[in-house]
Symmetry: C2
């Protein structure tokens, strides 16, 4: 293939998803390749927020718990999200944070192992998103029953790490730094073969890659709505509990929204049937409402179409960087194999942080993760092939001109 | 005193806080006495949301973690809230839900008792807000170390319920049903005398009554921003950890926002210094931002002035109901003593649910709690003395005319 900006424009012209970009408010002059950190704003989010604030909160006030559906919003959003991840209606709630939901899921997974007291180990990756490891350590330490977290260094160590001592295999489906995608079905089968329960973090895969939680026979999953799902900064996260585990689902954050009859104000906790028992406290309605605006864009397409474009975008980005930035010390850390790739591409560069700052100054927004990793996220809902061309063109200029400050001060949050 | 609508209008004319009502968007034709459930909307919340959504999220995207102060928002809001409850800067974060924060505070309180293994009891009230009891049960049950929750029936049983077996005294400062206000300083002193640690839930008192957490030497506190603080439906809650306990504050929800260096992406958890260690996951920024709009109204007055008006409003309401509804079976359950009263008034009526529905239909918004309790919340920021007169006038009409349907169907959420 010969690459050119004209060829990329032709790809855009032929892209059946191209029109969806119009539903997002993207700033002029910016190529936004950080949707894997914070998804862009659906235009509908503004009018939705205005309605929730002025009418539902301002005018209807407390009545809106019933009349505006606030009371069921966590479940209604979960049902809208379900088809994107291979879940059924009534299996997901959008609530709390990914970390808090992971705590619930891990606790419930350990509860499933209550009859196997020798299973004390939570297996996960050292390069998993750190908060997942911290939550597992927090839970294990606090239980004081000898649970430990076993950290493996590379995915190929997983089979040897799971055994008779393993309670839970806890993995993030797509790695936040490298974009490596685990084989959910194979690893779940492996875990089950050894008597372990699986907990999947879908933060970097929900809305980014197709998946089939039921087909994989996964046990529990949590995920994020503010990355590929475009729900808004820090928007509430989600938790999936399949029907087969709902009857035995128990977790210590047993707040009133998980009660069978919250407004009877009984002093003893009795969990409700169904996914509601994964709820705890009252949710931030304004932020929660905006999650629907992102999901409504997904309802106009499907994950197969999005995946086809995502792979085309990431293939193109990899090929262009390797061709046009040849001679510079950029190294691909994201898998080339489609089956092992999420919807981001990461390259290392010895001055990765400084190069990324220079890119941002020139309007190409990616981000940086230690060590040396420049991350570029590709959101097929709004990223064009021309964006990819232009981003690589600017990267090439920055590298050729050495137009980066190797002493650039780090921001608080990158 | 002789009561009349004209006299109430005179009170409003002399009210130094009357002008603050203009900062709220109150629906026409409604007397809103449910700010103890969902505070009314500050007008500023709309423009703030529009800015956060269009500029901070839409245009500045991921940069806003630094440039718009998203990364420090939980702490900045905590500092604004601190003077309302007698806390110092750096002691409060606005984050998560009241239930989740209570879990953290309770876990930290039990950790403080680690050297006293015989202290296994969490003392609280049977009529505490149920979610608080559920969270304590959830924590105690999962620890599997023999912790139990001891429920007492009335506040005067507290002294006898605290002893050598008591780890924590966990109380809601103002009761959600009755409006009874505990003596925080006296009960904290009592708990400390017996070696117990105190956890206070300020859901119905923050922004409603003056308090001095430091003066009372309280140990931990949590609270709600969507009631008297007018932060928006389900807005994130808060947790207070005094400086003297911050160094030893440990809780199992050890997410990355509580890490000393979250973006170093270390695989081992190391808590940060200070109140940040009460944080866990990424917070819903749009909802969190609106909390500031409510707090900014409080910054224009002080809790002493608000308390003076609150007591005048609740005194007036009690006197008017007892005078003008005499002969009907309404009974006051809120304490008459000022020191024991929050900023709400509750009356029982045998058909309390039906009467409340009739009031709502006629534009007086209070709410109902089992059994038989009609709750009326008074928010001195926007409730007028004439509102009180008119509300009682409509209550009198409803009762005199028996204009309520004793078979009224219950809503999902009331």
């Amino acid at each position: 293939m010969t690459y050119s900006r004209t060829a990329c424009q032709a790809l855009d012209a032929a892209d059946p998803l191209a029109a969806l970009r119009e539903q997002f408010d993207l700033p002029a002059g910016i190529i936004y390749l950080d949707g894997n950190s914070l998804g862009a704003r659906p235009k509908a989010a503004l009018t939705r927020a205005q309605h929730v604030i002025t009418q539902e909160w301002g005018k209807d006030l407390i009545k809106s718990w019933n009349t505006a559906g606030w009371a069921d919003l966590t479940k209604r959003l979960g049902d809208k999200l379900a088809p994107l991840v291979g879940a059924l209606p009534g299996e997901i709630v959008v609530t709390d944070t990914t970390s808090v939901n992971l705590f619930k899921a891990l606790a419930a997974a350990l509860a499933l192992q209550a009859d196997a007291p020798a299973r004390k180990v939570i297996v996960t990756e050292r390069h998993n998103f750190p908060s997942d490891i911290y939550m597992a350590e927090g839970l294990a330490g606090w239980l004081e029953r000898g649970h430990t977290v076993r950290l493996i260094d590379t995915p190929d160590e997983i089979p040897a790490a799971i055994g008779l001592d393993t309670a839970v295999l806890m993995l993030t489906h797509v790695n936040y730094r490298t974009g490596y995608q685990h084989d959910m079905a194979a690893l779940t089968a492996l875990a089950h073969q050894h008597g372990a329960v699986t907990v999947w973090d879908l933060a970097h895969s929900a809305g980014a890659v197709p998946m089939d939680l039921h087909g994989a026979q996964a046990d529990f999953a949590v995920g994020c709505t503010y990355k590929y799902l475009n729900g808004g900064p820090g928007a509430p996260a989600f938790i999936w509990v399949p029907q087969r585990h709902q009857g035995t689902f128990h977790q210590p954050l047993s707040g009133w929204w998980g009660h069978a009859s919250p407004f009877s104000m009984a002093s003893a906790f009795a969990p409700c049937d169904g996914i509601g028992r994964a709820l705890c406290g009252t949710q931030p309605i304004v932020a929660l409402s905006l999650v629907e605006c992102g999901l409504d864009v997904f309802a106009q397409t499907d994950m197969a179409a999005l995946r086809a474009k995502s792979l085309a975008l990431t293939d193109l980005f990899i090929a262009l960087v390797e061709e046009r930035c040849a001679g510079h010390p950029v190294e691909l850390v994201t898998p080339r194999a489609h089956a092992r790739r999420g919807s981001q591409v990461s390259f290392t560069h010895p001055h990765g942080y400084a190069v990324m700052q220079a890119l941002i100054e020139r309007g190409v927004i990616g981000d940086y993760r230690e060590p040396h990793i420049m991350r570029f996220g590709f959101t097929p809902l709004y990223t064009s092939f021309t964006d990819v061309w232009d981003a690589v063109d600017i990267l090439r200029q920055v590298l050729d001109e050495q137009a980066y400050d190797v002493h650039a001060a780090r921001s608080a949050v990158t």
